[in-house]
Symmetry: C2
Subunit: 688 residues, 2 copies
């Protein structure tokens, strides 16, 4: 069946013109004209660069050649591109007017013109040309014997200037190679911001030469050296990516306070065995690096001058590592428990006429702004920093939504109306395992609010946060990709590019192509499954994983203590991803069958059901020498039981009571096994 | 069929005692006693450390716990192990008498005693304890529902003190993460030397602060910073691995001479346009980083005092990065062409009474020895350094064999007889794609030579060289592993551990377990195949790859110019490995059939033949939308044609002339397609 389809497509592409609807571009360009004809790729294909670009274009063009060579096996003659106008007669001519700055509001536009014998990329700056090269790579076609680019004109530019990914390197440390390959992924998807969450309750991740206690006591030896950070910044720069570092204060402060308990807010009585006296004679507590997930009380003391001394010193050391203009100071989820319980802090509030903890936090935040300004940095923080006294320079990072008891994007609208620039993350939480569609259709520009042009301009864009309480270096890529590609499209492409089915179609190729950058979102799945299967055949386990999805939202890690930071993440749920592959295909089959109960349509549905019955049997056998398979057995059994009954329903042979059948299907809605859920439950319901 | 087998085994393990022959230990320990009973693993399992070990044991024990947790999903309560005697009642007690040094001749022995309720590892130093932990991990069993260790006593120690892997980071630069994961692999296989080939014609890979030209002009930006090197040295130390750096001189000198042409040996006339005058008025040539593979003429000038000035300065900067006692100066493959052609060098030879270029090279080498000695380093070099004037301190690295026109291990015997210490690499060239058996049976201790005990003691051990002309960061792991595990066993285990079939049996599990260290030798194969298949189903491509092996020896890259360093290594040959999986299985089936032509045995052979006929058809269809499949089609066609005829032969229905059949099978011996060969040719021949 598969091969019949392949042959048909092959017939189309080798004889007829490739159609716009067949292109696998993502993010979809602003304007594209597809003409008849093509540019045939050959071994002699060369690149030439002219204009006044930044040197980053040379590395980018060289990498482009290597990737194209890897896909085509052409053995291009051209090696490293290192100079302007090296090959004046080259087939690919790149011209950039000026050197691009790694900053917001840069002109990232490009024009790509593919003619029969010549390809040109014209861009204001090399940043646009980098995007043009990615588009060109996505345009590669083949006719079965050779490779070509379709004759095309593309004019393209981003809708939003902030198109970001946040990576949490605090909960699970993410080594340099993880960071690098994901930066490559961002560049391939025309994203331009890498927000690096470097500090949280679970660890401090920046080498500190003047404050070595932070890494000695609060990193478990897992941190980036300053040289590594500089190298990453350079690596990102070469790919057109701005790095925004984050040191999360005053909440999420356990790691900092593990090293510097004297600036903590917790007041305790002197009678306890774990306390000690500080110089002022007030009692302080000690802290240890947090191993669980959640919101914790350790918070910096905003009334203590030492807090600001330390932070100022930290910024003096950290800011120079990051040439970008933005510094994220966190500011989220400070519950203020320790502030309420500390008489000294309460007194400070009174003295400074700060009515609420929220106002006290703004006081704290505003002390930080000049420390950052000194280094040319604008302050950014999660939306909790937004109160009446916040300076208008600050950027408000909108993240809360229904889960936090507010309307989605509420703070975004509030911020722009009050005159703040803002970035949207609510709706883009890729760590929470929601379906791609929910992110794809989440537009940063709120509808029905009648924002002025000025207010709209304050919406800089969006950012996908990848928190890592449940993600390790081995699994993080499969949490980020391919869903972040859909978010990239939301932030780059026109507002009306919202065809979910077409996005899914393109995404299959896009996801596959991201592999060439070293991303492990596809390859590491089998590694996990092999471990579970104890090196036996993983076919049935893989098939089962294609209808299972990790529990969504915050339900996988109950109370944040089921999984500690050092727990195993080699389990079935870690191999599964949102948008379970077969679930979508099955739902399509069910819908087709319900629309037309033909024999063929019925057999398509039955094929899935039969497969799942077989999978259950296989898994049972597999588990005999692989205990890690056991946790999934009850769920596989439920899928099989429901499948068996539904097969009878399809054939009108069911003798079960409607109530029993319903119960059987309800059983498939369980979240009790192996931290996954069956993604076919809703399709099953349609069948009865 | 597969599952029936699995069930039978499951029955055995859950009801009966695991047998010694079922254990997947590698390298096989010196002494093992398996008793009845087992130690059952539980969530409460803890580790305790006593004695006077180096701190590396804490990290090692913590990593051990995490790996065991990843395999079992136990959610161990114990997090980071950071102190002596933290959990006195722990089930696993590790005791080390003293702190191990990262050096040769250290006591690496350990005793592992698994009792029903207690496991102890006793070792002289933590280095032995590290090995004990690896053995314990390899002993993990399960009975279908839970995990356990069999009650066992193991006493173990290495046969040779030098058990190394050489990685060439010059031809293809190998990033930090590649180095790290392979160091983990070495540690898991109880190897203890990582020889880092850092300089060659194709690049200089060490950041030089006082000689920045080396990286500016001769690295393409691909090099290790000094901090990265220090971090790798620390990483290796934590895993009990000694790092031996190599700067290859005086031959293989193109990169050095690209930066410092003034110390090159090539004499040219002043009339050429590419020459310039140096201060002395003699003519020098310029060099550019080599992109091809092979032996090249650029060689340092041994008659020029500046050569020694520069090298001394380089050693002053590089030696302190490596605390180990050995420094490899290469010294191989200097053809002396440029020396012969340079009158100044000829004059120098005469003046210093150096009869041959070989003696001149020894003169050169001996100038380097004190530069290294100054930093406490012993000089090591490839066997060409061995001449009459070589100091007895030097270690001779034996590498040449029949391919270089000498007997295998000839220089090894010569060296030890002359009083030199030596390390064997001939027979361990894993880059050359020879079958594992050839490496496994290659013993460093020569037979029939009547060496004295003293002479034998000079044979330090062996080392597997991984040259990277044809290996990238994406493919290198599949060239190193799993074959290096067999070499590890040769170097650690008793001389009489030579059962190839048993090695193959154990290797399947060992190879799989190496995955948990991040090694990509298994997972990256599908990545390459997906690229070739243009993201279509890779099943048939994978099946075909299981009977194909990359061309052996130096035949893949004819003249060293077919592949340049920047050529694509994303081809079918890059997905294939030696010891093609199905070829071995097919050969077994053929042998069984020939011994007993039962219907069952015949059908086993026929199953393979039918599969390959189907594979050929599938590949043809696949190629319609995947041009990279095309190069393998002729070979798949030949395999299919021979398979079809052999099926007829099996059924006595063949009507072909014996000559035609023979020709058809001879066709399967081709090396003309896709840089691979069919690994079933010899088995085919048996069938006619």
């Amino acid at each position: 069946m598969k091969y019949i389809l392949v042959l048909l497509l092959a017939g189309l592409t080798s004889n007829a013109q490739v159609q716009k609807e067949q292109l696998n571009l993502m993010p979809w360009p602003q304007s594209i004209v597809l003409n008849e004809g093509s540019f045939a790729l050959s071994k002699n294909f060369k690149v030439n660069i002219t204009g006044n670009p930044n040197v980053r274009i040379f590395g980018a063009a060289t990498r482009f050649l290597r990737r194209l060579d890897g896909r085509t096996g052409m053995f291009f003659e051209q090696g490293f591109i290192t100079k302007l106008n090296e090959s004046p007669t080259a087939e690919l001519q790149i011209n950039c007017e000026k050197s691009g700055k790694i900053a917001l509001y840069e002109d990232e536009s490009y024009h790509l013109d593919i003619k029969k014998n010549k390809i040109t990329i014209n861009a204001t700056s090399d940043l646009g040309a980098l995007h043009g090269l990615e588009t060109l790579l996505q345009l590669l076609q083949n006719n079965g014997t050779s490779f070509y680019f379709p004759t095309t004109q593309i004019s393209d530019f981003p809708r939003f200037t902030w198109r970001g990914l946040m990576m949490d390197a605090a909960r699970h440390f993410q080594p340099i190679d993880v960071v690098k390959r994901n930066i490559d992924g961002l560049a391939a998807m025309k994203m331009n911001v890498f927000h690096w969450h470097l500090v949280d309750d679970q660890g401090w991740r920046i080498e500190m030469k003047k404050h070595p206690k932070l890494i000695e006591l609060a990193s478990d030896g897992l941190y980036y050296t300053q040289e590594e950070i500089r190298n990453i910044v350079k690596y990102a720069d070469e790919r057109g990516i701005l790095i925004v570092p984050e040191i999360d204060v005053p909440g999420h402060g356990t790691a900092i306070l593990t090293a510097y308990p004297e600036i903590g807010s917790k007041a305790i009585t002197l009678s306890g065995g774990t306390t000690e006296k500080n110089i002022q004679g007030t009692a302080i507590t000690t802290y240890t690096v947090e191993r669980n997930a959640g919101i914790f009380s350790p918070t910096l003391d905003p009334s203590n001058p030492k807090t600001y001394q330390l932070l100022s010193g930290i910024f003096d050391e950290v800011c120079p590592l990051f040439p970008g203009a933005y510094f994220h100071i966190g500011g989220d989820e400070n519950e203020g428990k320790d502030w309420d319980a500390n008489p000294k802090i309460q007194e400070f509030k009174k003295k400074n006429k700060l009515a609420t903890n929220h106002e006290l936090q703004t006081y704290f935040t505003m002390q930080l702004a000049p420390m950052l300004k000194k280094h040319g940095k604008q302050l950014m923080g999660w939306e909790e920093i937004l109160t009446k006294d916040l300076s208008k320079d600050a950027i408000v990072h909108s993240w809360r939504g229904p889960n936090e008891g507010v309307l989605p994007g509420q703070s975004l609208a509030e911020a722009v109306k009050k005159g703040y620039k803002t970035v949207l993350s609510n709706g883009y939480y890729i760590d929470l395992m929601y379906p791609i569609e929910s992110h794809y259709l989440n537009d940063p520009m709120p509808k029905g609010l009648n924002l002025t042009t000025e207010e709209k301009a304050r919406i800089l864009g969006g950012e996908a946060p990848m928190w890592t309480e449940l993600a390790t270096p081995e699994t993080i890529d499969s949490r980020i990709w391919p869903r972040t590609a859909a978010i990239a499209e939301r932030l780059w492409s026109a507002e009306n590019i919202t065809d979910v089915a077409d996005m899914h179609r393109r995404l299959e190729t896009i996801s596959f192509r991201l592999e060439e950058l070293g991303l492990t979102h596809i390859r590491n799945k089998d590694v996990i499954l092999r471990n579970i299967a104890n090196n036996q055949e993983i076919k049935s386990l893989n098939e089962f994983s294609n209808v299972c999805e990790p529990l969504k939202g915050y339900t996988r890690n109950k109370d944040g203590t089921e999984y500690k930071m050092y727990s195993p993440f080699t389990l079935f749920a870690d191999a599964c991803t949102p948008d379970a592959k077969d679930a979508l295909a099955f739902d399509n089959a069910v819908n087709q069958y319900l629309a037309n109960k033909s024999l063929e349509n019925k057999s398509k549905v039955a094929m899935f059901l039969n497969k799942w019955i077989a999978v259950n049997n296989d898994l049972k056998e597999l588990s005999n020498t692989a205990p890690l398979v056991r946790p999934v057995l009850p769920l596989a059994q439920k899928l099989s039981a429901a499948s068996q009954q539904l097969l009878l329903v399809l054939d009108n042979k069911s003798t079960s009571k409607s109530e029993d059948l319903k119960n059987l299907i309800e059983e498939c809605n369980t979240k009790d096994h192996a931290d996954v859920e069956l993604a076919v439950y809703n399709s099953f319901k349609k069948l009865i």
